[in-house]
Structures are given as structure tokens and as C-alpha cells.
């Protein structure tokens, strides 16, 4: 339940490798030595570890097309637990090295194997593995934030704080907590002498007016093929994020999710550890199970005691009968040009009020656009600067008919070849939709402002919101062969 060593490296596709932080835990190493006995492999010096790690991650020697150690086809379970073959002086394996990467930063640690080394224990029997993953993920969030693009300066300042952060969360190799994301750890407010124990995950106490903010975001993904032999796919998942400012050491709050009558049940519910109890019926519905009509369909009550920082209270998936936007995309190759025909229909159940809605039509493995002679029934069409992408801005609203079309021809005669993609060759092409609809969910799930209960003496301000957004929303050209995106539709 401890880690022997921790490394943080940065690199650019295997080059410009630099070790940003390293920590070895001598006492855990001492235990590792006793536990492994004769099969003990010491952790080599950092440079060696890094090289081995890059090889195992497939990042070493980026200019060489084939390196036997790196590209061997023999299947070993690699991620999340890598195996580093230490050459000298004591030959052996370092296992299980956990590594997670985000952009240019890779974090790795070596959990202690607290079981006999031979035969190799199952990964699932080592608690230190899941703890190591949690620690790495926590450190990653601390260093890079949850945003998509890591900020180099923030990263550097956070790295400088790491020694004092580790003193709190993992002083001797046994992870106790993950660092609080973003903000530097604030000194704790001394607690008034009370009988109630303060949760270890709560760094201080809130003073002042109570405020609870509950945001429900549903995300819809889709793969539409416009092809009878292939079923279109879409799925929806939702997350409920809370920010609670409530007084007291262990205040009680309850958030209730409700579905409209005949709404399909929420499935695969996952909850934050601060949820105090769960009704077993809430957990029964599962997306991988046969759909059971008699399943529980709410209300879904989540009693919890909130931490100070914003957190994800729960998440769910849902099966909705139709996709919000149904599209059809047809391409025809005509001698020197490509005939394009697109139809997008907004389903009637969806509120016709977007924050934004855009359709992107990329064209790969071709020259740049020559002549673009395309008309749209609504919205505005732009050609990207690189001349290989059509951006169709649909604005805030679909027309009354709830249907928009695009027709036209494109010739490819630009001076330079456009981007390549091994997947989208010839007529294998897609439209990707980006949209966000405020104040609605596809599943119909909602958090009523009045259903949020805060058991506190003072008056509270409660804000709830919901929205629908798209992610990986693809409409494939029906005249080309689209890649299979899920086995379920084949089986």
C-alpha cells in the first residue's frame, strides 16, 4: 500500500526528455527488499529508469522505425502496469510501474508488491496499484489543472511546491491523500472544540452565508452511418457537479435527481465518496444489463456532506430513444470534383435554442480545396484557412422546419496536399457536430431547486442549472465504408 519511487518527466514525443521531479522512499524500498527476498530488483538510477520507461511507453528512439525492445509484437499486459527490464548490474524486472501521461508530462510510480514475488501476483490483488493510480491522477490534476492545455509557468511553480505537498499527502511513500487541485494548500483553520470529528478531506470550515450550486451537464455522443446494415449509435452520460458553501464541520445536504414520467432510468450511477448512504435500488440499473422495465426510475436521492472545493457528486448514463440531431451525409466522386450533400434534422423533443451549433466537414488525404461551390439552406459556411475543412455555423436556431441542408461541389486542386489520416481515405469521411443546448437534458433528468435540502440553520442560496453538450458526435458518409465504433452493433 505504498510506493517505492515517484517520477515526473516531460518530453516531446520522446525527445527533449527531462526529469522534472523524482522521489525515492527509502523505507518502502527497505520493505520491498525484505518482501521480494532473492528476486529483489533495486530501482536503478533515474536516467536508466527514464530510458526504460520511454522504451516501454513506445517513445524511445523516435527516429528509428523499428526497435526490437520497443516494438516487439509479443503481447504483455503493459498499461497500466509496465514492466521495466533492468539490465545491470542486477538483472531483473521492475513491476508494476504505473504511468499516466497528459500532453508532455508523464507521471510514474512504482508501487510496493506486498505479496510473494513468485509467481507474480495478480495486479488486482495489490491495493498499492489502485492507490498508486489515485495518487498519480491527483498529482496530475494538481500540476496541470483539469483543463486541456497545461500551462508551462503554472506547471513550474506547482513542481516547486511538490516537496511540501508530498510532505502532507505522501511523506514516507504511503499515500494518505491527493493534493487539492489548483489552489495551494491553505493552512487549516483551527477547529472549535466540538464532539464532531472533522473529515480528513475537509481542509477547513466555511463561515458565512450558505450557498449551493448544482450543475447538471449531459453529454451526448453519436455515430451515425445512414446505412441500413448498420445501426446508428448514440449514448448519453450526465454529471452532477456541486459547489457547496455550508457552515458546520459535517453539514448534511441532499440533492435529488428526478426524471419525467416514463423517462428511462438512470444507469451506471457512480457517486463521490462524500455521499453518506445510497439506496440499493439506485444502483441496480446498468447499461450492460438487459433492460428491465420494472427498474427503479427515481427520485434519486444523494445525501452527502460536502467538501469545501467543487466536486463531482455523481454521474450516470442514460438510454434515450433518439439522437438530438439526425444527420445524413453523402459524398459522390465525380471526375475532378466531389459532390456533397448533407441533411441535418433537429429532433422535435430538443429545445431549438443553442448556445452554439457547428458542423465540421474535414477532408483528408486530398489536395487543398480548389473551387468550393456549396450552398446551405441555413447558417453560414466558412472555409478554414488551411483549405481542407468546411465549417458550417448553424447559429442559435434551426429554421422552423427543424431541417437544414447543404448541397454543392468541391474540387481539390490546391497547390499543396492537405492533412492525411489513415482512417479517412477515399470516401470514408465524416461530419463532426459541436453543439451546446442550455437548460435541457436529453434524459429529461433535472435537479429541482427546491429539492436541494441543506440541513442548516442559516438561510441558503441554491442555484441549479443544466445543459446538453455534444462530444464525439459523428455523421459518417453513407457512400463510403465507415469504421466500426462498437462491437455491440455487430453482435
Amino acid at each position: 500500500m505504498s510506493v517505492r519511487a515517484l517520477w515526473i518527466i516531460s518530453h516531446e514525443k520522446g525527445e527533449h526528455l527531462s526529469l522534472r521531479f523524482a522521489r525515492r522512499f527509502a523505507t518502502v524500498e527497505h520493505r520491498a527488499k525484505i518482501l521480494a527476498g532473492s528476486s529483489y530488483t533495486a530501482v536503478p538510477e533515474d536516467n536508466t529508469v527514464l530510458q526504460l520507461l520511454l522504451t516501454e511507453l513506445g517513445l524511445s528512439d523516435p527516429d528509428k522505425p523499428f526497435v526490437a525492445l520497443r516494438d516487439d509484437c509479443l503481447y504483455r499486459q503493459r498499461s497500466p502496469a509496465l514492466e521495466l527490464r533492468v539490465d545491470s548490474p542486477g538483472k531483473g524486472m521492475l513491476w508494476p510501474v504505473l504511468a499516466i501521461s497528459h500532453g508532455p508530462i508523464t507521471l510514474a510510480c512504482l508501487p510496493l508488491v506486498d505479496a510473494p514475488a513468485e509467481p507474480r501476483p495478480a495486479l488486482a490483488s495489490l491495493l498499492s496499484v489502485s492507490q498508486g493510480l489515485t495518487l498519480l491522477a491527483g498529482l496530475q490534476t494538481f500540476l496541470l489543472g483539469s483543463g486541456s492545455k497545461p500551462d508551462i509557468e503554472v506547471l513550474a511553480s506547482r513542481l516547486a511546491m511538490l516537496p511540501s505537498v508530498l510532505l502532507q499527502v505522501c511523506p514516507l511513500g504511503t499515500p494518505l491523500d491527493v493534493p487539492l487541485p489548483g489552489a495551494p494548500s491553505t493552512p487549516t483553520v483551527p477547529t472549535p472544540a466540538e464532539n464532531q470529528k472533522q473529515p480528513a478531506w475537509k481542509t477547513g470550515l466555511h463561515r458565512g452565508r450558505a450557498a449551493v450550486n448544482v450543475a447538471l451537464i449531459e453529454t451526448v455522443r453519436s455515430m451515425q452511418y445512414g446505412n441500413r446494415s448498420r445501426q446508428d449509435l448514440w449514448d448519453v452520460y450526465g454529471t452532477v457537479t456541486c459547489k457547496c458553501e455550508v457552515e458546520g464541520v459535517l453539514p448534511n445536504v441532499m440533492v435529488t435527481l428526478t426524471l419525467p414520467p416514463n423517462g428511462s432510468p438512470l444507469q451506471d450511477i457512480l457517486v463521490h465518496p462524500c455521499v453518506t448512504s445510497l439506496d440499493s435500488s439506485i444502483l441496480t440499473a446498468s447499461s450492460v444489463d438487459n433492460f428491465d422495465g420494472s427498474a427503479f426510475s427515481g427520485p434519486y436521492k444523494f445525501p452527502f456532506s460536502p467538501p469545501l472545493e467543487p466536486f463531482r457528486l455523481c454521474s450516470y448514463t442514460s438510454q434515450v430513444p433518439v439522437p438530438p440531431i439526425l444527420g445524413s451525409y453523402q459524398l459522390k466522386e465525380e471526375e475532378t470534383q466531389l459532390r456533397v450533400s448533407v441533411t441535418l434534422k433537429l429532433h422535435e423533443s430538443v429545445k431549438n435554442s443553442f448556445e452554439y451549433c457547428e458542423a465540421h466537414l474535414p477532408f483528408f488525404n486530398r489536395d487543398q480545396f480548389g473551387v468550393v461551390d456549396v450552398k446551405v439552406s441555413s447558417g453560414q459556411l466558412d472555409v478554414s484557412k488551411e483549405k481542407n475543412l468546411l465549417v458550417w455555423g448553424l447559429g442559435q436556431k434551426f429554421p422552423k422546419s427543424r431541417e437544414v441542408t447543404m448541397e454543392g461541389k468541391i474540387s481539390f486542386s490546391g497547390p499543396t496536399p492537405g492533412p492525411t489520416d489513415p482512417l479517412c481515405t477515399e470516401l470514408t469521411a465524416y461530419i463532426k457536430l459541436y453543439f451546446k443546448v442550455p437548460d435541457m437534458t436529453l434524459s429529461g433528468c433535472s435537479v429541482d431547486q427546491h429539492s436541494v435540502q441543506v440541513y442548516s440553520s442559516s438561510k441558503q442560496r441554491i442555484i441549479t442549472s443544466r445543459e446538453l453538450q455534444s462530444k464525439e458526435y459523428f455523421i459518417w458518409n453513407s457512400t463510403g465504408s465507415a469504421p466500426v465504433s462498437s462491437g455491440q452493433m455487430m453482435l
Partner: protein
């Protein structure tokens, strides 16, 4: 100053070994400690200075004693440190813990470690927090926990104290106490299970803190028993057995402690909560008196958790308690959850991969099989279908899913269910990956595809329709992307290695050979084709005619030879090289020889021509077996299938071959020639009396013999060829020795080489007969050297010690006609003597040598040295006549008379011999004198 230290600490942590090679561990440690005491150094620097002690204490404290001293130093630094520098004080505690644990001071209960333990306990109980920070207390608790973890049982006596501290604490610090308390509890219970006769009473006493002195001693003994067992997790799935403590149903004290800990578990961070649950699971597993149901209240809260470590602790609990805590329904639910989590859009890829791994080793209530990769019974193909791989997955996920699904459909196959659509899907998936590779996918996709192909084949190679069509797809992929050859070879190698029962790899290589030799040739593919064909040629079962035809075609019909590219030439030779050792070489002999000859004559690069010529010579002169032996050496050395293919390897290979075919120079003297012991032959002359001829007639007859060319012109010298004392044992058996001699002067005709079949150290040495043909009768030395072969096939050149030919060795007995008897010889002697004594300028000379010798001694001397050359009768005591013939045509005559002194009257027809005979006689007589005085 601070910058220098920062740099030094940095370079220490980057590479301790390099850093310490520039200084000594003791020296560096002393410097660190001195600087830590220095008041001028800032505390942030001092924190940095502690890091080598925290991270690598055993590199700095080379002995336990040094560890003890260092710890005492650090403790005094701690005591003198102002309370407000909390960070530094915390790091000091960490450094102390590291030093004491890693130098075994804690295990030996040394004085410093006892003092430190007291210090930690004191800090952890100091709830006043006068100095405003709980950080020090938290650190002290973690140090205690780590010391207990490294030295289980250390705090067993303090259980009650720790329980009290934990219960009273209301700040966040209760987590630190809870972690410490549960670990100590777990270790204490473990120790009791190892105690024979321990039971409920002992447990109660332990929890109550009133342990008797009697078993305090026992506990200490226990401590040294088996360190690794007590450190190991006790939850090891169906195969693990847990030591138990028989308490009967009455252990309410333990139950109280457990429920108090569990009730507050909600207040802990997920990481600490998971550790606590795991430790308590171990405790309950060891004490059958407590029902696992104590955990039930926590389960519901945890089953829905999004935290990977919390869900993991539930799985571990299930592994420990199976159906005593989890019903069949729970089991189905957990598995379903795992499947959901394995592909949940909100989880990170490593977490999902971990969950897939958990499915593979799902702790079933009633496991059927318990091998690796035994899937849970409840994992139906339908349930698993959400995990089928797609081209949108990242590589690791794709492969992990493919692996899982292979196992699922393998079971389906076994159960003979409908010829799986699932398997068909997996195959389709593989071909769509292949498409992406075909369309120029990135290196990562290529590697992933080949791993997927290997995985698929390793499970489904017997399903012919798939394995066969995959082979075809791969062949055509290769022709379009020849630069992927190393991947194809790697795949073939691994399939061959892992699936010895299948001949897929051979078939595949054969198909590739067909594809290559039939294909339209482009020059950019050629090097890859050659690499591939070289691999194909390794297969004894694959006929190689088409490969040879291909080679012959490309070298004759293209400008390849004219261009003379060295690399391509090497690839060509590489293929030829493999063909040379192919078992079907007999059929290939002539066309291959043609190819090699063509290369040797026409190729535009000298190096390639030379090598081709060498191969050609080897092919045409060596037998097949010998050829295989010669070429198989240095082949496969240094392992790695793939390595064989790298370019440098061709060079290395040719170096290996060179070493086999060139002659090595031995560093020491291995062989020597030793003079063979003389076998006494007597004078060997015809003892019959005959009619003595007139001296002049005898002379004439005698001289006539020399008209025959080469008559009596050689001196035979007999030697034995033996090992020199210093020769290495690898030279014990030598074969085909060829001795070569060179002259140091021009007194002799050059000598021919001498061959010896073998010299074995344990056998009698073979004799070597040298025939020296003198131009002038002079002593000489010969330089000698030998070339030979050792058992491993290497050839060596060694110098032998010089062979010295002494004056006496140049003598021959009188080469008189065979019919002559003693009389004629005496006549000849007299005739010669007269001629030499004449004072004419013929070059003749006489001389007198005198010495003191007893009669007996003289007799021995004659018998020993002059017998073969004796002309007079042996019984003739008055005058002994001796004649040495020295080829080519010199004579030395002696009349020896014994008077007061012995007179050696010497006459010769070559005055230049006089100094030699003089020294010869001197040596002889002096040695004779020696023996007689």
C-alpha cells in the same frame, strides 16, 4: 554557498554512484551533518540537505553504527531547532525514520531508535499544539506508522494508547491516528496467530494494554521469525491461506474497536479509507470469531463509488470473504459494475485498464479454475460485448480489450457454441486495423496492429479460415509496405517461438517467399525483400530454389552489380550466407555457386566481391557438414532474433566469419621441439673382415660415391613435438599442425614445412624428423613456427622456441660403401689422414688436443660419444681411430692415444672446423673428468 549545495544535492540524487565516485560516503555525510548544524544556512536549504538522508540513507550510512551516530546527530539538531521551523522539523523526523529503518537500528531496537520512538510518541501525544501546527504531529504519526510497517510489532504494546489518541482527536489528524492504530492492530493480531495457544484472553489483554511481561518477550522473539510473511498482504485470492486466531465467539472488545474504526471510515480520504478497509479486512480474516458482516454497513456506500481504490478495496474484501459477505446477487452486481467501469466515459484510460485487469482476476465466490486468465463464469459473451475493441480505442485499451475478448470467445469455441460471430468480429477488427496500417498509419498503430495480430493468432491459430486469410492479407500488406519487414519477421519469430505446435509461421514465411519472388521488382523494396528472404532461408522446411532464382535474376537482369551498393551487397550476401547452411543445400549448390561467382566477379564493390569469393570458395571446397559448422559459429551469438537483422550485425557477422577464417596469433608459446632421446645404434658398420684395399684405391672408391648428386648430403635430426608448459588448456588438443622453419644463416639449404596430424597433451608426443642439408658444416639455429587448428575450429599461429643445431649434430658416420669392412675403412682413414697431414694448401689441417683422463673414463667417453664414428676396432686400446663425416664433404679424423695424458690427434680437410672440434672435445672431456673426480 547555498547554490553550490543545491547543485551538489541535485547531482547526488541524479546519480548517487557517480557523485560518490568523486567523494566518499562518509565524507559527504559528515559535510551534510556539519552544514545542518550551521546556523548561517537557511531552513529551506537544510530541508534540501536532508533529502539524501531521506532517499538514500543506506548509501550514506554504510554501517548500522554509522546509522546510529547519524541518528543521534539528527536528534540533537532536532532538539536545538526552534519550534517555528515546522517544515524542517518534519523533514528531520522523516530523515531520522529513513536512517534508523534502513540501517536496521529499528529492528535491533538500538538506543537511538528507542529514543526516537519515545520522541515520536511524545510529539504525537502533545495535543496542545502550542506552536500552532498539527503538521508535526501528523508527520510523527506517519513516522510511527512507517516504523511499525517496517518492523511489525514494534508498537504492539501501545495499542490502547493509540486507540485513545484516535478517539479523542477531533481535528483532521484523527486520520493519521486511525491509520497508525489499524496497522498496529493488524500486526498485533498477526503475531498472536503465530503464537501457539494464544486465544481470546490474549487478544483482550492486547487491546486493553495490560500485556504481561511474559509474552512481551515472546513477541520480541516472534519478530525475527519471518519478516516477509508478516509484511505481505494476507488477502491473496483463492490460493492464499490466512493464519487464524481461535477466540471463540467472545471477542467483543475487538468488535468494538472495529466498529468504531469503521463508523469513522467515512471521514477519511479515499486513499486512507482504502488502506484502513484493507487492514481491517485482514484482521477479520484472521479472527474467525468476528463475522465479516461488520463491514456490511459500509458496503452500500462503497459499491457506488467512483474512486478506484475504494472499489478495489471492496474487491479485495470479496476475495477474502467470498460468500460469507457477498451473495450470488452481489457477485453478479460487482462483475456488472466492473464491466461498466471498464468502459466508462468519465474514467481515465489507466483506471479502465485496471478494471479490465480486475475482470480477468475477478474473485469469484466459487471459482472453477484457478489458472491464469480464468474468466469469471458470469462473464458471458453478451456482457463482454461492450468491451469489444474498436479502432477508436487507444492502443493499450485496444489490446487489453482484444485480449479479454479472445479469452471470452475461446471459451465459446470450446463450448462448441455457434461458430462465433464474436470471433468473426474480432477478425474484422483486425482487418480494419490492417487497413489503417495499409493507409499509412503511424508507428504506434503499426506496432499495435502487429501485437493484435500476434494476440489473435496465439488464441485462434487453429481456426483455419481466419489464420489462413490473415496470412494472405499480411502478404499483400507486405508487398505494399515492404519497410515493415522487421515487424513481419518479428511476428513470425514470436509465433514460431510461442506456438511450437503450429506451423503457421513457416507457412507464412513460405507465402512471403512466394509473394516476393513473384512480385514485380522495384529497387526501393529490394533491401527489405532480401532481409525477408534471409529470414525465410532460416527455415529448413522451406525450399529455397525460388530464392536462389530470385537472387540470380536480380543480379543478372538489373544494374545492381554495376552500381555496386555496399549495403545491398551485404543483404545479398546475407541471404547467400543463410542458404549456405540450409539443409537443402545439395539442390542449390550449382545455382548458388553461380550467384556467388557472379557476385565475386561482377559486383561493383570490392568488399562484397571478396566476401562473395570467400563464400564461393567455402561452398565449393568444404563439405556440407564442415560448411555448416564453420558458418554456424559466431551465428546466434549475442542472441536476439531481431538483432540478426540489424545492419551492424552483418558487419559483426562478417567479423565472426573472419575470425573463423583468419589465423590468430597465439600470445604465448604453445608448442616446442625437444630432441628425441638417442637410441644407441652402434657403429652400424659391417663387422666382417674383408680384404682391405690400398688406401688410394679406397679413397678413390669412396670419393666416387659423391658423384651421385645428393649423396650423404643430409643430416637427419629427430625431435618430439610437445606442448610447452605454459600453454592454455584450450590448446590441449591441436590438429593439422604445420611446422615452418626459417634459417638464421646461409650455412644450410632452406627447410621444407613439416606436417603433424595432431598433438594431444595426454598422448605421447609425435616425433618430427628434420632433414638438414648443410652447405657448410657449421652449427646453427632455426626459427620455427607452427600453424594449427584447435578443437573449436579456429586457426592459430604460434612461434616455437628456436631449434639449436649443435656441432655434434652435424656429424654423420662415415658413408662408406656397404660392402666395406673394417679393413677398407681403416685404409680410407689412413689415406685421408695422409692427405690432410700433407702440408699442401688443400685447406687441410692437423691439431692436437690433450687432457687428463683415466683409461676407464676414456673408454666410457668413446662408447658414449664416438661409437657410431669409430673406425678402429673397439678392442684396440693402443690407438682409437674416429672419423666424423660432416656433410656435404668434410671430414674430421681423430687418433686417440692414451699415454700419461690422452692425446687427441686431429686432422681435417676443413680447417674452419678446428675451433668447433676443440670446444667440442673440451666439453666432452671436462664432463668426463667431472664424472670421474
Amino acid at each position: 554557498m547555498s547554490d553550490i549545495w543545491t547543485q551538489r544535492i541535485l547531482s547526488f540524487s541524479r546519480s548517487p554512484s557517480r557523485f560518490l565516485s568523486g567523494t566518499t560516503a562518509e565524507g559527504f555525510l559528515a559535510e551534510l551533518l556539519r552544514e545542518l548544524r550551521d546556523d548561517r544556512a537557511t531552513y529551506s536549504l537544510k530541508v534540501l540537505l536532508l533529502s539524501p538522508l531521506c532517499e538514500s540513507p543506506s548509501l550514506l550510512c554504510l554501517s548500522d553504527l554509522l546509522g546510529e551516530e547519524t541518528a543521534l546527530e539528527l536528534m540533537s539538531v532536532f532538539n536545538q531547532c526552534p519550534p517555528k521551523s515546522v517544515q524542517f522539523r518534519c523533514h528531520l523526523l522523516l530523515a531520522l525514520t529513513s536512517v534508523l529503518v534502513c540501517t536496521s537500528c529499528v529492528n535491533n531496537r538500538s538506543r537511538a531508535s528507542q529514543d526516537f520512538l519515545d520522541l515520536l510518541l511524545q510529539i504525537s501525544q502533545d495535543s496542545n499544539d502550542l506552536h500552532g501546527d498539527v503538521a508535526l504531529r501528523a508527520t510523527a504519526c506517519d513516522c510511527l506508522r512507517e516504523m511499525e510497517a517496517c518492523s511489525p510489532g514494534l508498537l504492539s504494546q501501545r495499542l490502547e494508547l493509540l486507540d485513545g489518541l484516535r478517539q479523542r482527536e477531533t481535528s483532521r489528524l484523527h486520520q493519521a491516528y486511525a491509520g497508525l492504530h489499524t496497522l498496529v492492530l493488524r500486526n498485533a493480531v498477526y503475531q498472536l496467530t503465530q503464537e501457539t495457544g494464544a486465544g481470546a484472553e490474549h487478544l483482550k489483554a492486547l487491546l486493553g494494554g495490560n500485556t504481561s511481561v511474559a509474552w512481551e518477550a515472546e513477541l520480541d522473539l516472534m519478530n525475527s521469525k519471518d519478516d516477509s510473511a508478516v509484511l505481505s498482504s494476507l488477502i491473496r485470492g483463492p490460493m492464499g491461506s490466512v493464519p487464524t486466531l481461535q477466540t471463540g465467539p467472545d471477542c467483543k472488545e475487538l468488535r468494538a474497536v472495529l466498529s468504531s474504526l469503521l463508523e469513522e471510515s467515512y471521514l477519511l480520504t479515499p486513499l486512507s479509507q482504502a488502506a484502513l478497509l484493507h487492514r481491517l479486512t485482514e484482521v477479520v480474516a484472521m479472527v474467525p470469531g468476528v463475522s465479516p458482516a461488520v463491514f456490511r454497513a459500509q458496503l452500500l456506500r462503497l459499491l457506488g463509488t467512483s474512486e478506484v481504490c475504494l472499489f478495489h478495496s471492496i474487491l479485495l474484501m470479496k476475495s477474502a470473504f467470498t460468500d460469507s459477505l457477498f451473495s450470488a446477487e452481489d457477485e453478479a452486481f460487482l462483475l456488472q459494475r466492473l464491466v461498466v467501469l471498464s468502459q466508462h466515459p468519465l474514467l481515465s484510460p489507466p483506471e479502465k485498464l485496471f478494471y479490465i485487469d480486475c475482470i480477468l482476476s475477478f474473485p469469484e465466490n466459487r471459482p472453477i479454475g484457478c489458472g491464469d486468465d480464468a474468466l469469471p463464469v458470469l462473464l458471458t459473451p453478451r456482457l463482454a460485448s461492450v468491451l469489444v475493441p474498436t479502432v477508436f480505442n487507444d492502443s493499450a485499451t485496444l489490446l487489453a480489450r482484444l485480449h479479454l475478448l479472445c479469452l471470452v470467445y475461446l471459451e465459446e469455441e470450446d463450448e462448441g457454441e455457434e461458430e462465433g460471430r464474436g470471433l468473426g468480429y474480432l477478425y474484422d477488427h483486425l482487418t480494419s486495423l490492417l487497413q489503417i496500417v495499409d493507409n499509412g498509419g503511424s508507428r504506434e498503430i503499426v506496432v499495435t496492429f502487429f501485437r493484435a495480430a500476434f494476440l489473435f493468432l496465439s488464441y485462434f491459430f487453429p481456426v483455419e479460415c481466419f489464420s489462413h486469410s490473415l496470412m494472405e492479407e499480411l502478404c499483400s500488406l507486405y508487398l505494399r509496405h515492404t519497410h515493415l519487414a522487421p515487424h513481419f519477421i518479428n511476428l513470425a519469430d514470436h509465433i514460431q517461438e510461442q506456438l511450437s505446435e503450429s506451423n503457421w509461421a513457416t507457412e507464412f514465411l513460405k507465402a512471403l517467399q512466394g509473394a516476393i519472388t513473384d512480385a514485380e521488382l522495384t529497387s526501393k523494396d529490394l533491401s527489405w525483400h532480401l532481409k525477408m528472404l534471409a529470414r525465410v532461408a532460416e527455415e529448413g522446411e522451406i525450399k529455397q530454389q525460388s530464392t536462389v532464382n530470385f537472387l540470380s535474376h536480380i543480379i543478372t537482369s538489373s544494374s545492381l552489380c554495376v552500381k555496386g551498393d555496399w549495403r545491398l551487397g551485404n543483404f545479398l550476401l546475407w541471404v547467400c550466407r543463410r542458404l549456405l547452411v540450409h539443409p537443402g543445400l545439395d539442390v542449390l549448390l550449382i545455382p548458388l555457386a553461380d550467384v556467388l561467382q557472379h557476385l565475386a566477379c561482377r559486383y561493383g564493390d570490392t568488399d562484397i566481391r571478396d566476401h562473395a569469393r570467400l563464400y564461393y570458395t567455402l561452398l565449393t571446397t568444404l563439405s556440407k557438414d564442415k560448411l555448416a559448422r564453420v558458418l554456424s559459429q559466431g551465428y546466434g551469438e549475442g542472441g536476439g532474433q531481431a538483432k540478426k537483422l540489424t545492419f551492424s550485425c552483418i558487419v559483426a557477422e562478417s567479423e565472426g566469419l573472419t575470425s573463423l577464417l583468419t589465423v590468430h596469433q597465439a600470445k604465448t608459446i604453445i608448442l616446442k621441439l625437444v630432441e628425441e632421446p638417442q637410441t644407441e645404434t652402434g657403429s652400424g658398420l659391417n663387422q666382417n673382415e674383408d680384404n682391405p684395399e690400398e688406401a688410394s684405391v679406397a679413397l678413390e672408391q669412396y670419393r666416387a660415391q659423391f658423384d651421385v648428386p645428393g649423396f650423404a648430403s643430409e643430416i637427419p635430426l629427430n625431435y618430439q613435438l610437445t606442448h610447452s608448459e605454459s600453454a592454455d588448456s584450450c590448446f590441449d588438443q591441436l590438429f593439422s599442425i604445420r611446422l615452418h622453419f626459417s634459417l638464421t644463416d646461409d650455412h644450410y639449404e632452406p627447410l621444407g614445412d613439416v606436417s603433424v596430424p595432431c598433438v594431444f597433451r595426454e598422448r605421447p608426443p609425435p616425433s618430427v624428423k628434420l632433414r638438414l642439408k648443410p652447405r657448410r658444416p657449421q652449427p646453427t639455429s632455426l626459427h620455427a613456427s607452427a600453424i594449427f587448428t584447435t578443437q573449436d575450429g579456429l586457426s592459430w599461429l604460434t612461434d616455437l622456441p628456436d631449434v639449436h643445431v649443435a656441432f655434434r649434430q652435424t656429424f654423420l658416420p662415415l658413408p662408406a660403401p656397404e660392402t666395406w669392412g673394417r679393413g677398407s675403412r681403416l685404409s680410407l682413414f689412413d689415406g685421408l689422414w695422409d692427405e690432410m697431414s700433407r702440408e699442401e694448401p688443400t685447406g687441410g689441417a692437423t691439431s692436437l688436443f690433450c687432457c687428463q683422463l683415466q683409461e676407464e673414463a676414456l673408454k666410457t667417453l668413446v662408447e658414449k660419444h664416438f661409437l657410431p664414428y669409430l673406425v678402429s676396432d673397439q678392442s684396440d686400446k693402443e690407438e682409437i681411430k674416429v672419423l666424423f663425416f660432416l656433410p656435404p664433404q668434410s671430414h674430421l679424423l681423430m687418433r686417440i692415444r692414451s699415454e700419461e695424458t690422452v692425446h687427441f690427434n686431429v686432422a681435417t680437410d676443413n680447417w674452419q672446423l678446428l675451433p668447433h672440434i676443440n670446444s667440442y672435445l673440451l666439453t666432452l672431456t671436462s664432463s668426463q673428468e667431472d664424472t670421474h673426480t
